[in-house]
């Protein structure tokens, strides 16, 4: 059990995290928020890269800062832009990380090969990282995060740079892993988590805005999502008037999808909300 207690992070007069608190069990938790919402600050505090101004994080009732290396041994972290030593090969990097994570030497190579296999990098294991594409680096980032068989896996924007096929593969892999550990999947791309997340945590301006499972969050949106078939003159006006709106295609027609408490137009009709609508509703102007 991971517990965030009254977490604050202040830079001058700016609050990057404002009294953030929640509790996480095993499974996938999606941390959703626009850029600058405080997601990365929260992740940095969790993994120990940054110290909070006040508050604490408890893991099974113990303060993670006091646990030190014991807590670090339970964490796997894949940063948003994983940077690696360009002169290392994939296998060398895995071995190095295994050593730094204190993985037993005897089983090290076997574990590294298993993980490279699982991220489909076996053939590139002896190639220098400087020759890798963005997607390959992301996969290597995931493989290194799993070396120490972590109890908490932190993924910060893990799908950036992946092509659609790799995204699907990545999601499936994460789903499998969630049976054994707590996964915090930090993203602003709703489609990445809508099929796999156990719970979604919405964060904005450093504050926890909303938390719950996906059906519950969607249910709360019922009656707040509308669709309009506007004519060309009206379209621009409506788009300006309702920033929480998007254009979607329905039966070869362009339809305006609006998230709003009130019915936006006489011809508007209520429709089934999706997770993206929750995102648009909460983050309003910031997310568009």
């Amino acid at each position: 059990m991971l517990c965030f207690k009254e977490l604050n992070k202040k830079y001058g007069s700016f609050y990057a995290l404002d009294n953030f608190q929640t509790e996480l069990d095993s499974g996938i938790y999606a941390l959703l928020g626009p850029n600058g919402a405080g997601k990365s600050t929260l992740m940095n505090i969790l993994v120990g890269l940054t110290a909070p101004t006040s508050g604490e994080i408890l893991f099974d009732g113990k303060n993670t800062e006091q646990m030190g290396a014991d807590f670090r041994a339970k964490i796997g972290y894949m940063p948003q832009y994983p940077g690696f030593y360009p002169g290392f090969t994939a296998m060398e990097l895995m071995r190095y990380m295994a050593d730094m994570k204190g993985y037993p030497r005897k089983e090290r190579d076997k574990r590294c090969l298993e993980l490279l296999e699982s991220v489909n990098l076996t053939q590139q294991r002896d190639k220098k990282i400087k020759t890798f594409s963005g997607g390959m680096k992301q996969r290597l980032g995931l493989a290194q995060a799993l070396i120490n068989e972590p109890e908490i896996l932190v993924l910060d924007e893990p799908t950036a740079g992946l092509d659609p096929k790799e995204r699907v593969r990545f999601r499936n892999m994460v789903r499998k892993l969630s049976e054994k550990m707590t996964i915090i999947f930090c993203t602003h791309i709703v489609s990445d988590i809508e099929t796999i997340a156990k719970e979604v945590i919405l964060i904005h301006h450093g504050k926890l805005v909303q938390q719950g499972n996906i059906p519950a969050l969607i249910k709360e949106m019922e009656g707040k999502v509308w669709e309009i078939l506007p004519d060309a003159d009206e379209l621009e006006l409506l788009l300006e008037q309702y920033p929480r709106s998007s254009l979607v295609s329905r039966n070869m027609q362009t339809v305006l999808h609006v998230v709003n408490d009130e019915k936006p137009h006489n011809d508007a009709h209520a429709c089934e909300p999706v997770l993206e609508d929750v995102y648009l509703y909460q983050f309003g102007d910031d997310s568009v």
Binding site: V47, T50, I75, P79, G83
Partner: protein
């Protein structure tokens, strides 16, 4: 550890500096204008021949040779040889007299202190005259030549700075710090590994650099392997050295002092990189600081007090062993000269420890806090 070393050696610029240093060493050593290789070789052969004769026999042999050879450069060499043989034979005579006097004085020394001092001096002279005068003369030329290359002392810190500059900055620049600092072994282990790797690399470069320099001048001056075990006093430059030391030991000592300077540069790089996280800044600052220190040493070369202070401080001056081995300030209670060098090494190591401690504190600060510290530092300066 080997990963840390790989991180340092992977870079192209390190190899470029290594290759350029070797090329510079080769070009400059073989372009020394005042003595050509053929002159040295010819002088070597002639000297060996003349030294085996008595002074009168040598003089007449040289006179015969002078008539026989019309070649201008050969004549010059022969004239030089004549002077050299004459002066050496005189020195040899003086040395014998001096030794005889010293033996006499030692037998009649009024204090134990005086007797030990004289016995020590006798040992040094005896060791020197065991070697063939011809080899000794060659060694003199070689050491004079070596001492002419002051830039050798400045090139070494430059190589070390190039090698070590990214030691503590590479994680920040590559982004690896995000996953390395949060690993189980974390920053503390990483810091230890980096410091040890820095010192190992410095030691290796120091040994290679010193060996390479010596091998080159050894080959160039046609010195025999045996001469490696001759006392350092055989070289005229070190004839007043009060310590018992062979050329081989001198070589090892030079390597050791360079390694200590390498370790000092590792500590300096660690402090600067921990503050700024940039290879270029670490390189510029370490080269600048060591360069300024060496320049100050040179600027006050004619002021005895300043030289003494610099000597005692040691730091980047340590590999310039000449002044440490040929001059000494005082003798200890046992009548032996105080080894100033080791006092300077102790002083250098103390400075190094302070730097390592500062680097450790800076390196293990949380990342964001560190950035704030740097900002606060720069704000307070402005």
């Amino acid at each position: 550890m080997r990963y840390e070393i790989k991180k340092l050696l992977f870079r192209k610029e390190v190899w470029i500096v290594f290759v350029l240093s070797i090329i510079a060493l080769l070009i400059l050593s073989f372009r020394q204008p005042w003595v050509s290789f053929s002159t040295i070789k010819s002088a070597h052969m002639k000297t060996a021949e003349y030294y085996s004769l008595s002074l009168d026999e040598a003089e007449s042999k040289i006179a015969e040779d002078l008539k026989r050879y019309g070649n201008e450069s050969d004549l010059k060499i022969l004239e030089q040889m004549q002077k050299s043989v004459r002066s050496y034979k005189k020195q040899e005579e003086n040395m014998k007299n001096l030794l005889a006097n010293m033996y006499h004085e030692a037998d009649h020394a009024s204090t134990e202190y005086e007797r030990r001092d004289l016995e020590h001096a006798i040992r040094q002279y005896n060791r020197r005259i065991d070697y063939h005068p011809c080899d000794v003369q060659q060694l003199n030329i070689a050491f004079l030549w070596l001492n002419d290359f002051e830039w050798l002392h400045y090139l070494f810190p430059l190589i070390i700075c190039t090698l070590l500059a990214p030691l503590f900055a590479v994680e920040s620049e590559s982004g690896m710090y995000q996953i390395l600092f949060i690993s189980k072994k974390g920053k503390k282990q990483l810091f230890r590994n980096k410091i040890i790797s820095g010192i190992i690399c410095s030691a290796c470069v120091s040994i290679i650099y010193t060996l390479l320099t010596f091998v080159m001048f050894w080959i160039r001056f046609g010195l025999s392997f045996q001469m490696l075990f001759a006392p350092i006093q055989c070289a005229e430059y070190y004839q007043n050295c009060p310590f018992s030391m062979t050329i081989w030991q001198f070589l090892m000592l030079t390597s050791l002092m360079r390694t200590i300077v390498g370790a000092l540069l590792t500590a300096l790089t660690a402090v600067i990189s921990s503050l700024f996280n940039r290879t270029a800044i670490a390189f510029g600052a370490t080269v600048g600081i060591s360069g300024i220190f060496i320049m100050i040493s040179r600027a006050y070369a004619n002021e005895p007090d300043a030289v003494l202070m610099m000597k005692r401080l040691g730091l980047f001056r340590l590999p310039i062993l000449g002044s440490y081995l040929t001059e000494y300030d005082t003798v200890n209670v046992f009548g032996y000269p105080v080894e100033q060098l080791w006092l300077s090494v102790a002083c250098t190591c103390s400075v190094m420890l302070v730097l390592f401690s500062a680097a450790y504190i800076l390196y293990t600060l949380p990342v964001k806090e560190k950035r704030k510290t740097v900002k606060l530092c720069s704000a307070s300066k402005s």
